[in-house]
């Protein structure tokens, strides 16, 4: 426990692994901690086809990153939960874990994102899970989450995971909207949901969505399309995408037995008398992602609320440094984006820490600039833009914060 490290990275996802690799290559002694049993973070669950047809297999991508970090000399420890951190008087950080304390002058928080929920009655029943839980169970643990499911919530992330569940042969009865309540916001408004799905129309497996997308750019035509949207939905990946139905309640005695759904108006209001039960033995709630940033708050880092980035994010500069000496952030803790962006950000963080730590083989400023340019390039080439205004809101954040 008393081993001395130059840098402790919290979170062995794409950002943490890339950072550990670039920092260790520069000569720093790096410890990477993660509470999951395998390194890789949420990258492990990812499985999709790139535009050229090649498969992005998260398990393989994670293995490559782990190999890179280990070859560079970083130590990776899994099954360790970091519960807190504080700055000590000797210009160092103490990291508190469930397996003792660690000390280092530099800390990188690469804790990723967590899923937000759209709670509804019955959501505590066994068999109800976040859609990310189903993704990990299916692709990483290779355990069937059930025999017939209902997905509540529609977003590009949900659609990506629906296609992964289908690929693994998991049956889904329907994808419906969440019920409108104080928490659901736009997620239960058919027009807003259709608008957000259309942004990813190029990825849509349904020809109708794909070719209808251009036509539906105008709000008026979207309203018209919703008026005529079939109640039973449009089949996507063999699953009815029901933009005109919402979940009211998840029903079951000891576990999920079904979902009470209702037709909704084009504005998302349930239509009285249209309620019926869809049988299911599991339910996935798809509520979106937010930066998992509690440790930055515990450390005392200031925050900004940036909706485009998924919520409250720790203040940081383009070099991933926070205003607290020695504390850095990278990956989804800085805003929800793709794994490729997280990898690029991790590299930036590792390099800028190496410079600040005056590492033996510290890179030059030019190398960090290149790495920062690579983040922007990766972002602009990303298959999925989680939000249309990510680049602009990041530029604004980096401009206004003097770190």
């Amino acid at each position: 426990m008393n081993t001395f490290y130059d840098l402790i990275v919290v979170g062995a996802g794409p950002a943490g692994l890339a950072a550990a690799c670039s920092a260790a290559q520069a000569g720093l002694k790096v410890l990477l901690l993660d509470e999951f049993m395998k390194p890789g973070g949420r990258l492990l669950g990812q499985l999709h086809q790139e535009p050229g047809g090649a498969w992005w297999n998260g398990i393989r991508e994670a293995e490559l990153l782990v190999l890179g970090a280990r070859n560079a000399g970083a130590h990776i420890q899994t099954g360790v939960s970091v519960t807190g951190l504080n700055r000590t008087s000797d210009n160092s950080w103490t990291i508190w874990t469930n397996q003792g304390c660690y000390h280092a002058p530099f800390v990188l928080l690469a804790t990723g994102a967590a899923e937000s929920a759209n709670p509804l009655p019955g959501w505590t029943l066994p068999g109800v899970m976040s859609i990310g839980a189903a993704q990990v169970m299916t692709n990483v643990q290779r355990v069937r989450v059930g025999n017939r499911g209902v997905v509540i919530g529609m977003s590009v992330l949900a659609m990506a995971i629906v296609s992964e569940l289908r690929l693994a042969g998991i049956n889904l009865a329907a994808i419906v909207l969440p019920p409108g309540n104080a928490l659901s916001g736009n997620a239960s408004d058919p027009e807003a949901v259709l608008g957000s799905l259309l942004r990813f129309a190029d990825l849509a497996p349904s020809a109708m969505l794909k070719y209808g997308a251009k036509l539906l750019q105008s709000s008026m035509l979207r309203k018209l399309a919703l008026t005529f949207f079939p109640k039973q939905g449009i089949r996507m990946l063999d699953v009815p995408l029901q933009l005109r139905r919402c979940a009211i309640e998840i029903v079951g005695r000891d576990a999920v037995e079904g979902v009470l759904i209702a037709d909704v108006t084009a504005r998302g209001e349930p239509i009285a008398g249209s309620e019926r039960i869809v049988e299911a033995d599991f339910v996935c709630i798809a509520g979106g992602l937010y930066p998992l940033a509690e440790l930055a708050a515990v450390a005392g880092c200031p925050f900004r609320y940036v909706p485009e980035l998924g919520g409250h994010v720790p203040v940081h500069g383009e070099n991933m440094q926070t205003p607290l000496p020695g504390l850095y952030v990278a990956g989804n803790i800085t805003g929800v984006e793709s794994a490729k962006v997280a990898i690029a950000q991790g590299t930036v963080a590792g390099l800028s820490i190496a410079i600040n730590a005056a590492a033996k083989k510290a890179p030059g400023e030019a190398e960090v600039k290149d790495a920062m340019a690579q983040v922007k390039r990766t972002r602009s080439e990303a298959l999925i833009q989680f939000h249309p205004d990510i680049a602009r809101s990041r530029a604004k954040l980096y401009q206004t914060e003097i770190v």
Binding site: F36, P126, V128, G132, V136, T138, V143, L167, A255
Partner: protein, 118 residues
């Protein structure tokens, strides 16, 4: 009890890689696990969804997030309470216990006294 089983064949990820198996007990009943997998995954593969009853109202609970954030899957292992089944690898001979309803003496007292504030 229905068994959901494993995804043995996957069109892209290929066949399930071979793994050593081990046994553990859940509430005294024996289950098999693949070496290194989580308690939550092994139990779900064995058809177990309910990991605890809510401490106060007794409603059944299972995994929700499967990555350690929500704490819904907490179980007792070898006498240690509050262990997350989704993050804990199964070990041979492990004794896993579900959580159950706990006494709520203060609430009962408040109800007995008809205190309107609780």
């Amino acid at each position: 009890m229905m068994s959901y089983g494993r995804i043995e064949h996957h069109p892209v990820l290929g066949p399930l890689p071979p793994a050593e198996t081990c046994s553990f007990s859940y509430d005294g009943r024996l289950y098999k696990a693949r070496e290194g997998e989580s308690i939550a995954a092994a139990l779900l593969a064995g058809g177990v969804r309910t990991l605890r009853l809510h401490e106060e109202n007794g409603s059944p609970r299972g995994i929700y997030c499967n990555i350690g954030h929500c704490m819904e899957c907490r179980v007792t292992i070898g006498g240690i309470t509050g262990v997350r089944a989704c993050l804990t690898p199964v070990k041979e001979g492990m004794d896993v216990r579900s959580g159950t309803v706990l006494p709520t003496p203060f609430r009962q007292m408040a109800e007995d006294e008809r205190s309107p504030s609780l």
